[in-house]
Amino acid sequence: MLRILVDRLLTTLPALAGVVVVCFLLTRVLPGDTAAYFAGPAATPQAIEQIRKELGLDRPVPEQFGRYVTELARGDLGQSLTTGQPVLADLKSRLPASAELTLFGLVLALVVALPLGILAAVKQGSLADHLCRIVATAGVSLPVFFTGLLLVYLFYFVLGWSPAPLGRLDSFASAPPTLTGFYLLDSLAAGEVETFRSALAQIALPGLTLAIFALAPIARITRASMLAVLGADFVRTARAAGLSGRKVVITYAFRNAVLPVVTTLGMVFSFLLGANVLVEKVFAWPGVGSYAVEALIASDYAPVQGFVLAMAILYIVLNLLIDLAYGLIDPRVGSAAA
């Protein structure tokens, strides 16, 4: 197991290197003159030259790259001009909000999509099958920010069930003591039922928006992969041996069908991390996505670059976890690699 872990870690290195190089390139092709930009509009040519020296922009590109990598290794992503804080600190304080939202949406999507996909495959042509097809086609066509707005209109304005789409807690509640940074978990851990209710009410709509978005690929691949497995010989054998339909479907078929689903999760994460930005903007969610958007609008580039890099690294880590989960779910994968 340890060896597999090390092997897997090594395979992420090229991706990591690629990400760092691309992020470096992105910082160096800033519109206009980077030094002039950092110096501000009222700077004299001397001041700009001074800043160019300070930033090392007068150095050859390989040296600049070396400097960039050293700064990264020290965790220095630069300063945000709007908040005046180091970008890393900003990202750290806002990441739990985004992570909670993304995971909430993903879990919601899985809870609905897996049974739906299985049902659609087991009972082809049934209501569940048609529902699955509609969900799969509509889900990929709906712009995520549009779904979010529709939900706000329906549940906030028309029905009045949901609080105003502004942040993680309503204005009267205070944040629970920080344990994980996830308000849902922290409030439960502290036994603050009111806070939990408030946090749940706030996260419900953005979470649902993300879930609708993630539902489509998961349901689609679950159905396809279940269909393939249900036609396999071992399922026929299990049925012939007189096992109950439930046991055949859940224990025999689903366990084997789950691998393609896990693979798809990698793609789903890629979509979710992007959709997160849009959903956070719609719901004024104080996560890293809205941080990057605010910085973008203010032409504050360091946070945007930090955000892109952080999301890429997060995505690599998630893919690594998915790879490892692969080995746990299907022991054959691990033994083949060793």
Binding site: V22, T137, F146, L149, S270, Q305, V308
Partner: protein, 302 residues
């Protein structure tokens, strides 16, 4: 697959083979459309979209930029079927006129990535070796990013213009095209018709362009249709967060963004109609892509 290889048959009997291949494809297409009326519906929708994109300024009832503060925030009525926005601009006209920009962004980015990704992928599959490794590495690096986030980063870095939205959308779709083209070219690298072309003294470039590329075109066409929808969504998402298109230019994403702040006070029509247009456009291309795939590659049907 057999369909795709047919045009490369010996030159003499080629016209009849192609004709019967074409006829088979057409009858297959008719079968698929008949079997799946949804595809026919999608083609109708496409015609409507293209008509709006080409004729937009002429069929729009009002000037999409003309504001009329006396009629601001009017709900849908006979005079303004989709209502008006906070400046009294007619939303129907803006939705119609926006079709051109939205489709243009998607079409240009898809053409760009088709040319770049298709050529790189075909070369990678055909030559293997270093070409393959470099193209593969570039594709892997792009795939290591969450794609929308990368697009944000690219537009932020290159500058906030529509051209850069097109470029960013093309870049994030590059791996899809490069990989597809690579796989298809690698399969055909040593196929009989390629060897025949080589034996008769054709250059590599000529073999790539006249023997291999035409054979993978059907699959690439499916890919183009499917990524059109994604490209529209992506561009709209970028303009929704304030990148690329600037107000008052009519564009669906930015119109939804403008309507977003009015949703909480109940003025639903400002965001709804451009959002619906966006959704229908994406839906249309996805359906056509699925339909085309059923024709070109029935085995991948799910």
């Amino acid at each position: 697959m057999s369909l795709a290889v047919q045009p490369a048959a010996a030159p003499a009997p080629r016209p009849p083979v192609e004709a019967s291949g074409l006829r088979a494809t057409l009858s297959h297409a008719r079968h698929v459309v008949g079997d799946n009326p949804v595809t026919g519906f999608a083609f109708g929708l496409l015609l409507l979209l293209v008509a709006c994109a080409i004729l937009g300024p002429w069929i729009a009832p009002y000037d999409p930029l003309a504001s009329d503060t006396s009629a601001a925030l009017a709900p849908p009525s006979l005079a303004h079927p989709f209502g008006t926005d906070q400046l009294g601009r007619d939303i129907l006209s803006r939705v119609i006129v926006a079709a051109r920009l939205d489709l243009a962004i998607a079409v240009f980015s898809v053409i760009l990535v088709f040319a770049a990704g298709g050529l790189a992928g075909v070369a990678a599959g055909f030559y293997g070796g270093w070409t393959d490794r470099i193209v593969g590495r570039v594709a892997d690096t792009i795939m290591a990013f969450p794609l929308f986030v990368l697009a944000m980063g690219i537009v932020a870095a290159l500058g906030n213009t529509v051209t850069n939205i097109v470029i960013a959308t093309a870049i994030i779709n590059f791996p899809l095209y490069a990989r597809l083209a690579r796989a298809e070219a690698a399969v055909r690298r040593n196929a009989g018709f390629v060897q025949a072309a080589r034996l008769t003294g054709n250059t590599d470039a000529r073999i790539l362009l006249t023997s291999i590329l035409p054979n993978i075109m059907p699959l690439m066409a499916v890919q183009m249709s499917l990524t059109m929808g994604y490209a529209i969504l992506n561009a709209a998402g970028l303009s929704f967060i304030g990148l690329g298109v600037r107000p008052p230019t009519p564009e669906w994403g930015i119109m939804v963004a403008e309507g977003a702040s009015f949703i909480v006070s109940g003025e639903w029509w400002i965001a709804l109609f451009p959002g619906l247009a966006l959704m229908l456009a994406v839906f249309c291309f996805n359906l056509i892509g699925d339909g085309l795939r059923d024709i070109v590659d029935p085995q991948r049907r799910t």
